[in-house]
């Protein structure tokens, strides 16, 4: 979740660059068709689709989805800011999420996070959400329980799930980012 948006002001979120391709439209329509009772149910799938395509949800995403599902923009923005998976600014090419909940914390997730932060040379900039490196290569944030507590500490690198990520493994995972 990024800085809380203030009503009455122009959005401070940068519009996404890139175009919506016919293939993407087709995928979107297919997703909508899975909810024959109410189009609105397709908001989450469409948000995922948009974020996977453009990297984040900006005003264009909100407006495109709102239009497609006959909703008001606020009804889409409500969800972008409610669900932590969605972000309103681009994250790194390699986005790391480290679980911070109790079992992983007991397993040393704090050390894992600190190691990753150091390796990526990241500083907290007061933004809510992830820390993003200046060159846009890395980003890092905490996540809540990722449901693999037996192999703590666990992380997600983009869509890859990694278990037992101690400091050594964390170093390997960063080095492996090509």
């Amino acid at each position: 979740m990024s800085t809380p948006l203030q009503a009455g002001m122009e959005s401070t979120v940068k519009p996404e660059s890139g175009e919506v391709t016919p293939a993407m439209e087709a995928k979107a329509d297919d997703l909508v068709s899975r909810y024959p009772v109410s189009k609105r149910s397709a908001v989450l799938p469409l948000l995922h689709l948009w974020q996977e395509t453009f990297g984040y949800i900006g005003p264009r995403g909100v407006e495109w989805i709102a239009k497609k599902l006959s909703l008001q923009e606020i009804q889409v923005l409500e969800l972008v800011t409610f669900y932590p998976w969605f972000r309103q600014r681009p994250y790194g090419k390699f986005h790391f999420r480290v679980c911070r909940t109790l079992p992983c914390a007991l397993g040393g997730s704090g050390k894992t996070f600190a190691t990753l932060q150091k390796l990526m040379n990241l500083k907290s900039d007061g933004h809510e959400g992830a820390m993003v490196s200046e060159d846009g290569r890395f980003s890092l944030e905490y996540s809540e329980c990722l449901a693999s507590c037996g192999t703590a500490p666990v992380i997600l690198r983009n869509d890859e799930f990694h278990q037992a990520v101690d400091e050594k493994r964390a170093t390997e995972l960063v080095a492996g980012c090509k």
Binding site: L79, Y83, R100, C149, D159
Partner: protein, 455 residues
């Protein structure tokens, strides 16, 4: 003495050579129960589930047969929906992940049977988005099942139609609450609904009768169809039937997932025999037996559990922590709960204030914010506990924490209030002197001594 698991649901999990495609599944008898169930008919399946005394495995332990009985497909005019709750997010729990990633068809078959039993034609599988591969695995499995005629129109020429779609969540624990899930599935903020009037059996998804079941629960349905409700009820003990998937994490030598009949194993046996005990020469200090929402148990405690004696009378028995049976009634009798089966073990090197602060941070982050006590109170709890963990506690903090927690539990729209309050009430209640010492010692020194678990 080794304790052998009773691998019913986990039969094929990690089995060498077992793959998650439908061919492998069918080679091991997969979808035979679907054929059996279709011939049995819906009411018969529901009857078996009732006889089995199966209790929900998502955390609440509500009898599934009873939940299903709230909807009578012959009397309902609106469409009936079924939603599989694959939003596994309870800290300490990682059992549904194994099923989804390694034996998805078991879930699909169980789900189809459950849908058929309840007259459901359209069902959704709500999976947490952090299972980044899991949803693709499930979609693939559904495609396979469809291609084989087990899903879609006129399943196995029975005349029964069913569509199942996978729906990805987006990172909110509150979507594990059944009405929060329904709201999320409808495309809104996951605000749980007030009950009354919005009981899912009456006003659920799209205001139609809806059944929400956990992954493990649905898998059990398949096995109930296979062996019959009575046989299933013989596993475990009365009112605590079948097997349970247990997940152990934290300070044990062999953390992991295990399956035992309900109550067949005690907490001590689980920790010391199955999981190899506490590493590094440490001793047990505390254990949360059913996911972080469950009340914590302290090493050395003795509980008065009501049990039936040989004459059938209800008597109080003294049960030590190590001898607590891992089933619903025993754990409830000890003042905690079986919950989602997530067992988190803490050894005597752990600072209880740090652990509780960590848990409270989780709940503060996950509160949906709809109702006053939870929205304001849970964050307040976190702030106080973080302050204590940081070495700036105040003398009245323990009493204040208890007061705040007492004013959240029972006063909220959904059980999240209790889930956030119980850890605070139980940790404070059982480790009171530790908190007091921590506060009295205050300052940076108190912080330096312990490993920080709060981020």
């Amino acid at each position: 003495m080794a304790f052998t698991e009773h691998r019913l649901i986990f039969k094929h999990i990690d089995a060498p050579g077992y793959t998650r495609d439908i061919t492998c599944y069918q080679k091991h008898g997969g979808y035979e129960m679907l054929k059996k169930g279709l011939t049995m008919g819906g009411p018969a399946i529901r009857e078996e589930v009732k006889k089995s005394q199966l209790r929900g495995r998502g955390g609440a332990g509500f009898p599934t047969g009873t939940k299903w009985s709230f909807i009578d497909p012959t009397k309902v005019t609106k469409p009936i929906y079924l939603i599989c709750n694959a939003d596994e997010s309870e800290p300490g729990t990682f059992k549904d992940r194994q099923i989804i990633y390694k034996d998805p068809h078991q879930l699909i078959e169980g789900m189809i049977l459950s849908c058929f039993a309840n007259g459901v034609k359209l069902a959704y599988l709500y999976i947490r988005c952090e299972f980044t591969e899991g949803w693709k695995i499930l979609e693939n499995a559904i495609e396979e099942a469809k291609a084989a005629g087990f899903l879609g129109k006129n399943i196995l020429k029975s005349g029964y139609d069913l569509e199942i779609y996978v729906h990805r969540g987006a990172g909110a624990y509150i979507c594990g609450e059944e009405t929060g899930l329904i709201e999320s599935l409808e495309g809104k903020r996951a605000y749980p609904r007030i009950k009354p009037p919005y009981f899912p059996a009456v006003l659920g998804l799209y205001m139609c009768p809806t059944i929400v079941n956990n992954v493990e629960t649905l898998c059990n349905v398949k096995h109930i169809v296979e062996m019959g409700g009575d046989a299933y009820a013989k596993i475990g003990r009365p009112n605590n039937t079948g097997t349970r998937l247990l997940c152990v994490s934290g300070d044990v030598v062999k953390p992991g997932y295990y399956e035992f009949p309900c109550g067949a194993i005690t907490l001590g046996q689980l920790i010391y025999n199955v999981c190899g005990g506490i590493p590094n020469g440490r001793r047990l200090k505390a254990v949360i037996p059913g996911g972080s929402s469950a009340k914590v148990l302290r090493a050395g405690e003795v509980y008065k559990i009501k049990e039936k004696d040989s004459q059938g009378n209800m008597v109080d028995r003294d049960v030590k922590l190590d001898d607590l049976r891992m089933d619903f009634d025993s754990l409830a009798g000890a003042g905690s709960m079986a919950g989602s089966g997530g067992v988190i073990v803490m050894d005597d090197s752990r600072d209880m204030a740090e652990c509780l602060a960590n848990i409270s941070t989780f709940y503060a982050h996950e509160s949906c914010g709809q109702c006053t006590p939870c929205r304001e109170g849970v964050l307040w709890l976190k702030k106080i506990l973080s302050r204590i963990a940081d070495g700036q506690g105040r003398d009245n903090d323990p009493d204040l924490l208890k007061d705040v927690a007492d004013r959240i539990a029972g006063r909220t729209i959904c059980a999240f209030g209790e889930a956030a309050a119980w850890p605070v009430q139980s940790f404070l209640g059982k480790f009171k002197e530790e908190f007091q010492i921590r506060i009295r010692r205050n300052g940076a020194a108190a912080k330096r001594d312990t490993v920080s678990l709060t981020h």
